[in-house]
């Protein structure tokens, strides 16, 4: 695949469907996070992640 054929290849990949898959994963992740006890995104005390550690 040459660089010149890249735009055509990207169009053929149906970017809207790729974006839909990513958004579906994001939605599922956020929903699962909302339902979890251990929440990473939604506000809820989670002591280990009030500050993300810079190293282990």
């Amino acid at each position: 695949m040459s660089l010149r054929s890249l735009p055509a290849a990207l169009r053929a990949a149906r970017p809207w469907r790729m974006a839909a898959l990513v958004l579906a994963a994001l939605a599922a992740g956020l929903l699962a996070d909302r339902l979890r006890e251990e929440r990473l995104v939604f506000a809820r005390p989670f002591p280990a992640f009030t500050k993300i550690p810079s190293s282990r």
């Binding site: 290849a9 149906r14 992740g29 990473l40 995104v41 280990a48 992640f49 282990r56």
Partner: protein, 143 residues
């Protein structure tokens, strides 16, 4: 082609297993992401930690079932490329971390960044080959 089908199933199962194992403990996955020390905001890392396992599961299922190959295979290739870049920078910087690919369930040696980098390169090669020759965007456009 038989080999292509086996490779597709293998790639799909790897993504499926990796996604499910990460999903069990997303908190651990966030800690492992933070250990890569990339300059992204904390909220972005949190969103990645909650959504990447689902994206891997969706891609894994689509690969196994051969659903939407023209979209899923380039997406998987892009994901593998991101994994290679992340692991590559970790190896170059000599970061002491567990790759986090299989949650906390992977054996320690399999989670070493150099081993994980080789694995990610292999996955990238397989996904790029599937995309190019076996029904990905470029493959389909040529038919």
């Amino acid at each position: 082609m038989k080999a292509a089908r086996w490779l597709r199933w293998l790639l799909g199962l790897v993504f499926l297993v990796a996604g499910v194992l990460k999903l069990v403990h997303p908190g651990d996955f966030l800690v492992e992401l933070a250990a890569y020390r990339v300059p992204f905001p904390g909220m972005f890392l949190r969103l990645v930690a909650v959504s990447l396992p689902w994206l891997e599961i969706i891609c894994g299922v689509c690969l196994v079932l051969d659903r939407w190959p023209e979209s899923v295979r380039p997406l998987v290739t892009a994901l593998c490329l991101v994994f290679v870049v992340m692991l590559g920078q970790a190896v170059v910087r000599g970061l002491d971390l567990q790759c986090g690919c299989f949650g906390r369930f992977g054996p320690a040696w399999l989670e070493r960044p150099d081993v994980a980098l080789v694995r990610a390169l292999l996955l990238l090669a397989v996904s790029a080959w599937l995309t190019r020759h076996e029904g990905g965007a470029a493959g389909l456009s040529g038919r």
